[in-house]
């Protein structure tokens, strides 16, 4: 796929966008009250502690909403593809917009269990997700 916009990396977001180098999905977590939060910011949104840091997750998630995009929005875009909002299983309250891969659009449903798989482009590791159940994969 040649259409591939990439995010601008900042000190706050670096662990999220580059953490996939060792295959680990990292989400910001408060070191004081243990709350997980996303997007990454330099302050805990719950207790306002400044002691926050990226922490490793299992990379497992659950589909909360999805949309199969059919419209080619750019000339060099391959369609269809499945967009989803997933909740990260061991980071309560954290959801990610992502693209699902290795799955037929008709097999996607709210509640589908997925796991992270990183797409490496330049310095970025985009956290995409695929079904955990091998039988659901295509």
């Amino acid at each position: 796929m040649s259409f591939q916009p990439l995010p601008e990396v900042t000190a706050d977001s670096q662990a999220f966008w580059e953490g996939g180098a060792d295959g680990v999905l990292r989400i910001h977590r408060c070191q004081t009250c243990s709350a997980w939060f996303h997007p990454p910011t330099p302050v805990c949104p719950d207790c306002l502690s400044r002691d926050v840091a990226p922490a490793p997750t299992s990379g497992r998630a659950t589909v909360q909403g999805f949309s199969v995009n059919v419209q080619p929005w750019a000339p060099d875009m391959e369609v269809p593809y499945v967009l989803a909002v997933v909740s990260v299983d061991d980071a309560p309250g954290v959801q990610l917009t992502t693209r699902l891969v290795d799955v037929a659009p008709e097999a996607v449903a709210v509640g589908l269990a997925v796991e992270v798989t990183f797409l490496h482009v330049e310095d970025i590791y985009l956290p995409l997700f695929r079904p955990i159940d091998a039988e659901v994969r295509s």
Binding site: H38, S67, A74, L83
Partner: protein
């Protein structure tokens, strides 16, 4: 309710004293400034004012270069073209969605910073659109993506059709909404476009047409998406007591400008609720009127599903019950129905004037000037614009 108890409701110091609307259509081949001037001068004249009375200027979102035709004009060129002598002005996008510019004007008038504020919104998205350059799609330029868009665009969630599609799919999963029920929204708007000569798409639309149209981003098909257009709307927000010769005014009963949930398309814990819910709660807390008093609703339909979120947020039906409520079709949301909705064809059939078409139509209805589509005795109108984390709503009343 107690949040505003005893507090001055400042928006009641302001009125909408004049309205203007340029030609609106597909590829009009005119500059944005030309359309803006048409709408602005019409609004000033409609208010019974002259150019020299205008001492405030407000617009959304200011000049936007990232998205073609999204907003070709801002405060700078309009102030200069009309040589306005301003005491106050504001233009920008970080407001309670599109109507934020109107709310800013109301606040300025209430604060005594200006007497008559010209508010405008201009789009040339139709003219700007080419085979390779599409309006309202982010990330095709090659630059790195920052801000809120970085969490969606790299995954190819590039259009609001994608972001809204996720919400619509979740609502269907949760509450059993069907595409036929959702389709009542575009069918309704098309019926109303047929009553309004200024609407863009006026040919009848059937449920068969709707269901048979190509998919864009599930569950949203072609007719669930609004249409880029060229056009400009303007209103004059005046101090209620500023001018003795204000002809006919629309009163601002209450504003909803809240953002109490996450400022994000994907972090809301309930993926069927949006900023519309925050705004609606605030607006109703600032008035003794209730949803039962609303004579007509002009609610954002950039995508059909967004209208459902506005209707639900405002309390027209209980949470989750959009489907059965909409099934009544014309008798529910038609001009003669229980809640006459988007009586000008909305953005789905009237063109994406990006929030300001609803405002113009609400004023026309309250003034009894909505020829061919007038809601009998309309005295209270609600206007809501935006989707996802963007939202703003206003309750307007006639001066009768």
């Amino acid at each position: 309710m107690s949040r505003y108890l005893g507090q001055r409701i400042g928006e009641r110091d302001a009125v909408i004293s004049g309205i203007g609307r340029s030609a609106v259509g597909r590829k009009l081949g005119r500059t944005g400034l030309s359309l803006t001037v048409d709408a602005a001068l019409q609004a000033i004249e409609d208010a019974g004012l002259s150019r020299d009375d205008i001492d405030g200027l407000s617009t959304y979102p200011g000049v936007a270069t990232a998205s073609p035709g999204m907003s070709p004009n801002g405060v700078h060129d309009v102030q200069d073209a009309l040589r306005l002598k301003l005491n106050w002005f504001s233009g920008g996008s970080e407001t309670p969605a599109q109507l934020g510019a109107v709310m800013n004007a109301v606040a300025a008038v209430s604060a005594g910073l200006a007497n008559h504020v010209l508010v405008f919104r201009t789009v040339t998205e139709s003219s700007a659109q080419t085979a390779t350059r599409r309006a309202s799609v982010v990330g095709s330029g090659g630059d790195r993506v920052a801000g809120i868009m970085q969490w969606m665009v790299p995954f190819h969630a590039v259009s609001a059709a994608n972001w809204v599609g996720v919400y619509a799919q979740r609502y269907m999963h949760e509450f059993g909404l069907t595409r036929e029920q959702l389709g009542q929204i575009p069918l309704n708007q098309r019926r109303h476009a047929g009553l309004y000569e200024q609407a863009i798409f006026r040919d009848p639309l059937t449920m068969e047409d709707y269901l048979g149209a190509r998919m864009i981003s599930t569950p949203l098909g072609l007719y669930d998406c609004d249409i880029p257009c060229d056009g400009s709307c303007a209103v004059i927000v005046s101090r209620a007591d500023a001018s003795p010769d204000l002809k006919q005014v629309v009163r601002v009963e209450a504003i909803g400008s809240a953002l109490t949930g996450r400022n994000s398309w994907d972090q809301r814990s309930d993926l069927t609720e949006t900023a519309a819910h925050d705004c609606a709660a605030m607006m109703w807390a600032r008035t003794d009127l209730t949803v039962d008093d609303v004579d007509t609703a002009q609610l954002y339909d950039g995508f059909s599903f967004l209208t459902i979120t506005w209707l639900e947020a405002l309390g027209f039906f209980p949470k989750g019950e959009a489907g059965p409520w909409l099934e009544a079709g014309e008798s529910r949301i038609g001009v003669g129905g229980q809640v006459p909705l988007n009586t000008n064809g909305g953005q789905l059939s009237g063109g994406r004037l990006h929030g300001y078409g609803y405002l113009y139509e609400a004023c026309a209805q309250l003034r009894g000037e909505a020829v061919g589509r007038q809601v009998e005795g309309a005295e209270v109108a609600v206007v809501g614009a935006g989707g996802g984390p963007l939202g703003g709503c206003m309750l307007l009343t006639s001066d009768r």
